[in-house]
Every structure is written in structure tokens, then in C-alpha cells.
């Protein structure tokens, strides 16, 4: 840490939150192992001591999809199990506390998109994640609310797990199974292809669960705060943000697309200590100490 023009600047700083990558990889491997075990268990085998739940049983969005039927009829939509309700509740509790951390830290589909994006970043360098014109991008960002409304309406009126036929998450964990849906495979393919150009295209434009959790950014308890008094205004936080949020123009990030990845914070890309932080109030310790 050195002091330059009166500001404390970290010389050797991590460019990324490495712990997030570890947690993401852990959840990806866990879900992969469970879903493979599900297939093995269905054919009479299976790995002992490891859960053999179906992908629908461990998807929090399943809880959201079945909510209407549960409240009106008292039953769950086919394929969805009670465990999905628990995960839904955990996802909501996390979101109220720290925003859509489930998206940024645990969702395996988000993780895979990030892995593919690493290739795109290497190919396109600074152009990566800046291909979509801003005006169009701003409009497309609301598309996922349309997807959310469509999925909930169709699930409520048909009483079936309607979205399964198009769900890239379900397709990804059914790749080895006869249950894999062609529609889901196509959407997964398009998502991974687009990930070469855009960071997290599914999350940004189409994910119905991300749309729902994203609303928590408007009222979350711990938010991303930028301390204007110590900020160098170098724009590093905005450049690094996978969701293209202009963090350097805000004192508190209330953008519905933030995924709580913390890549913009002083722990990662921001060179000034305690300037961009995940905290409860606008006043970071640096300012409050003054």
C-alpha cells in the first residue's frame, strides 16, 4: 500500500475475486455430480452418500414456478419437489441481504458462461462485452422480465414445468440423459456462443430467475457503495463490471442487473483501498473516519 497524491493505493492488487471462482467451481462440480448420480441411480446404480436429486429438485427457480399452483391447488408442478421451495427461500433471503449473490457466486449456468467468456475476452480484448449498442442493450435488459412473466403464466395455465423445454440450465445437466430437451439445447448453444462476445448473455437478457432476484438490488441491505471522496475516477470499476454497470457514476449501485460479484470493489479492480465496497451504508469507514 502506498500513498500517492494523498490517496492510499494498493500496488499489488488482485484483479479478480479468486474466492468467487473457487465457490463457483465448487457449486458447478456439486450440481454436476448430483445430476450424474441421478441418472446412475435411475438405472439402479449411483454413488453412495451423494445426493441423487434431479436437477429440478435442486433448482430454486422450480420453487418460483410452482408457487402459483401451490397457493391455489396445494400441489407442486410435476417434476418439482419440495426441496426447490427451500432453495427458493434461501435465494430470496440471500438476495434481501446481499443482492443476487446466488447468480454471481453459485449459479452453474452463470459460471459456465463466465468460463466461455474468458476465451472471448482473450480474442476480442477491450471490445469484448461491448458489442451491443448501448441503446439496444438498455432495452434488451428488460427482456428477462417478459420471459419471467411468460414462464409464470404458462406454468400456471398448463400446470406443467413448461419452461423445461427451453431451459438451458436443465439442458446442461441433462446432456447425457434421454430427458434432454432439444429447445433447451438450442438455447444453451446460443447462450454459450454469445458468451464469446458478451459476458453472461443469458443472465443479462433472458434469465427469469435473475430477473426476479435482480429486483432485490432496489432494496438489498448490503449494497455496492462507492466513496466519492477517495475515488480516483479512473473508471476501472465500470470497465471490470461483467454486467456493464457504470459504477463510477454512482455512489450506490441500485442497478437491477448487479449480481454481487464484487469484481468492482477495492478488493479486486479498484486501486484505492476502501473506496468501492459491499456495505450497509454510503459511508465507508474511510469517510466515516474523517
Amino acid at each position: 500500500m502506498v500513498t500517492l497524491f494523498g490517496k492510499r493505493i494498493r500496488i499489488f492488487r488482485p484483479r479478480s475475486i479468486w474466492l468467487r471462482k473457487v465457490v463457483q467451481a465448487f457449486f458447478f462440480v456439486l450440481v454436476l455430480a448430483i445430476t450424474i448420480n441421478h441418472t446412475l441411480a435411475e438405472s439402479g446404480g449411483g454413488i453412495p452418500l451423494l445426493s441423487s436429486a434431479s436437477v429440478h429438485a435442486i433448482c430454486p427457480f422450480g420453487g418460483v414456478e410452482t408457487l402459483y399452483q401451490f397457493l391455489t391447488v396445494g400441489t407442486l408442478v410435476q417434476k418439482v419437489h419440495q426441496s426447490a421451495f427451500t432453495l427458493m427461500a434461501i435465494g430470496f433471503a440471500l438476495a434481501i441481504l446481499v443482492g443476487p449473490a446466488f447468480c454471481g457466486w453459485a449459479c452453474p449456468l452463470g459460471t459456465v458462461q463466465e468460463w466461455v467468456s474468458e476465451i472471448g475476452r482473450k480474442i476480442f480484448r477491450r471490445r469484448f462485452n461491448h458489442f451491443v449498442p448501448e441503446k439496444l442493450d438498455n432495452v434488451l435488459r428488460y427482456l428477462r422480465y417478459g420471459v419471467l412473466a411468460w414462464v409464470l403464466y404458462m406454468t400456471a395455465t398448463t400446470g406443467t414445468l413448461f419452461f423445461d423445454a427451453y431451459d438451458p440450465y436443465s439442458a446442461m445437466f441433462h446432456l447425457w440423459s434421454s430427458e434432454v430437451a432439444i429447445g433447451g439445447l438450442v438455447v444453451l448453444g446460443i447462450t454459450l456462443l454469445l458468451s464469446l462476445f458478451v459476458e453472461r448473455p443469458w443472465c443479462k437478457y433472458a434469465c427469469p430467475y435473475g430477473a426476479l432476484l435482480g429486483l432485490s438490488n432496489l432494496f438489498r441491505i448490503f449494497g455496492i457503495h462507492r466513496n466519492e471522496s477517495t475515488c480516483k475516477a479512473d473508471g476501472a470499476c465500470s470497465i471490470m463490471c461483467p454486467m456493464n454497470i457504470k459504477v463510477d457514476t454512482k455512489t450506490v449501485v441500485r442497478d437491477h442487473q448487479c449480481i454481487s460479484c464484487m469484481e468492482c470493489t477495492s478488493e479486486a479492480i479498484c486501486p484505492v483501498a476502501k473506496t468501492v465496497m459491499l456495505s450497509t451504508s454510503r459511508k465507508t469507514p474511510a469517510t466515516s473516519a474523517k
Binding site: 419437489h81 432453495l87 433471503a93 400446470g159 448490503f222 454481487s260 478488493e267
Partner: protein, 256 residues
């Protein structure tokens, strides 16, 4: 108050796994549906599991647990020769008999169980049975009505690995004629819209069946779209098999 990445990582992990542990302790963490069929509520079979409620997701092992018929015997009946019989899911029969002209699936298993255990079952629709299953049922002293039904609805074992043991001479006799098997005129395959126990009224509407036609068949106003036809019939005391046939006819009309 600040949160570091380490704290957030711990929070995510503790909340997810802690939440799962708490819900487990409260008995709320269920990753499968309970495999317990509805029970007969009246008559001499009151309290016994009802074969009509066997679901496609049940394994032969689940049936053994609920109805006392061994998975091995069910595997022999339905020509399932691969893997662990107890782990075989009933819905797998549709795939196994995909090339059969007659539908062998969950209904066949339900009928087999009812005949094998001498429990009531609605025979107003055509449900087919592979020869290997029929042979086992013939050993069970069926009453004349059931015997006649079985003989008219036995079809050759077509599945790969089938273990049919009926002498060939009896097979042609047992194979249903078009008169006794109207379903043969309009063979229904797994890829088309088929009315099953889990079909909801919403699905029927989405397949293009007019609301008025559904209401006429069920004899009442259209219920909540998410309710399955089978649950509705059970709740209203209607014969699902009868309603199913009529609904299927409406679905077939739409397809034409």
C-alpha cells in the same frame, strides 16, 4: 458495516447448506415425490393401496413395497431384462414398447397389479398386456369377466429382450382383433398428445381441445387449469379411464 469477499463466500455457503440442513431437520427437504399411492377408502379393500394410482415415476421396487409384487416378477411380466428390476421406472415401458402397435405402459402395470392382487379396476377402456404378463395372470384364478378381458387384450411381446414364454400356438388367438381393439385403428404413439393421468386441463386447452367439449365430458365447469384430469376424476368420484377415453377422442379430433 462492510462485507469482504471471504465473508460473502462464507455467507453464501452457510446460508445454502445451513438452510438445507434446517429444512431437513424440519422434514421439508424432499428431493423426490413420496411413492405412496392413494388407498381405497371404502368396501372390502378399504385401506389397501389402489393400483389405479400407480404413477409412471414409480419403480418396480416402489410397486413391490406398496403392492407386494416382487420387482423380479414385474420384470418378467413386462419383458424387462436389463439392469436392476427394482430400479426400473414404470414410465420406461413406453420406450421399451415404442414399436408396439398397442400401448403398453403405466396402465398395463396398473391393470396387472389389480388382476394379480384381485383388486377392483375399471375395465371400460382398452388396456393391453404383453403375453408374458398375461401368462402370469392366467395362473391367478381370474373370474370369467377378467379372463375374457385379458384374452382380448393380450399382445405379443415386442420389446427387445422380451422373455415371452407363451407357446406360439396360443399367440394368434390372444392377439386382439380390430373389433376388440379399436385403438389399433388409430395407433397412438408416445410422440403425440396423449391423455394420461398427469395431463392437466391446461394442457388439454393448449392442445386445442375446446373448453365446451371438456366441460361436457366431465359434466361440469372447467376446473383450475393446473389440476390433472386424474386428480379431478378422483375428487369427483368419476371413472378416469372413461373420461380419459373421451378426452383422447377430442384430442384426436383436433389432430385431424
Amino acid at each position: 458495516m462492510n462485507i469482504t469477499s471471504k465473508t460473502l463466500a462464507a455467507l453464501v455457503i452457510v446460508m445454502i447448506f445451513g438452510g438445507i440442513m434446517v429444512s431437513s431437520a424440519l422434514g421439508l427437504w424432499q428431493t423426490t415425490t413420496t411413492k405412496e399411492p392413494a388407498k381405497f377408502t371404502e368396501g372390502e379393500f378399504a385401506g389397501q393401496a389402489n393400483p389405479a394410482d400407480i404413477r409412471g415415476s414409480y419403480t418396480f421396487g416402489d410397486i413391490e413395497k406398496n403392492f407386494g409384487i416382487s420387482g423380479m416378477l414385474l420384470a418378467k411380466a413386462f419383458g424387462v431384462s436389463e439392469g436392476e428390476p427394482d430400479a426400473f421406472q414404470v414410465k420406461g415401458l413406453e420406450e421399451l414398447y415404442a414399436s408396439s402397435e398397442f400401448e403398453i405402459g403405466t396402465n398395463s402395470v396398473r391393470l396387472f397389479v389389480a388382476f394379480y392382487n384381485g383388486q377392483p379396476y375399471d375395465l371400460s377402456t382398452d388396456i393391453y398386456m404383453p403375453e408374458s404378463a398375461a401368462e402370469l395372470l392366467l395362473e391367478r384364478n381370474l373370474d370369467p369377466e377378467r379372463l375374457a378381458y385379458l384374452q382380448a387384450h393380450t399382445v405379443p411381446n415386442l420389446a427387445a429382450g422380451s422373455e415371452s414364454a407363451l407357446p406360439p400356438a396360443t399367440a394368434p388367438e390372444a392377439t386382439p382383433t380390430p373389433q376388440t381393439a379399436p385403438a389399433a385403428e388409430t395407433p397412438v404413439t408416445a410422440s403425440t398428445n396423449m391423455v394420461k393421468g398427469k395431463t392437466t386441463f391446461g394442457e388439454l386447452l393448449s392442445w386445442g381441445v375446446p373448453q365446451a367439449a371438456i366441460e361436457q365430458i366431465i359434466g361440469g365447469p372447467l376446473p383450475e387449469p393446473s389440476i390433472t384430469a386424474k386428480d379431478y376424476c378422483t375428487a369427483k368420484g368419476l371413472s378416469f379411464e372413461t373420461i380419459k377415453t373421451q378426452l383422447q377422442a377430442e384430442v384426436d379430433k383436433v389432430k385431424k
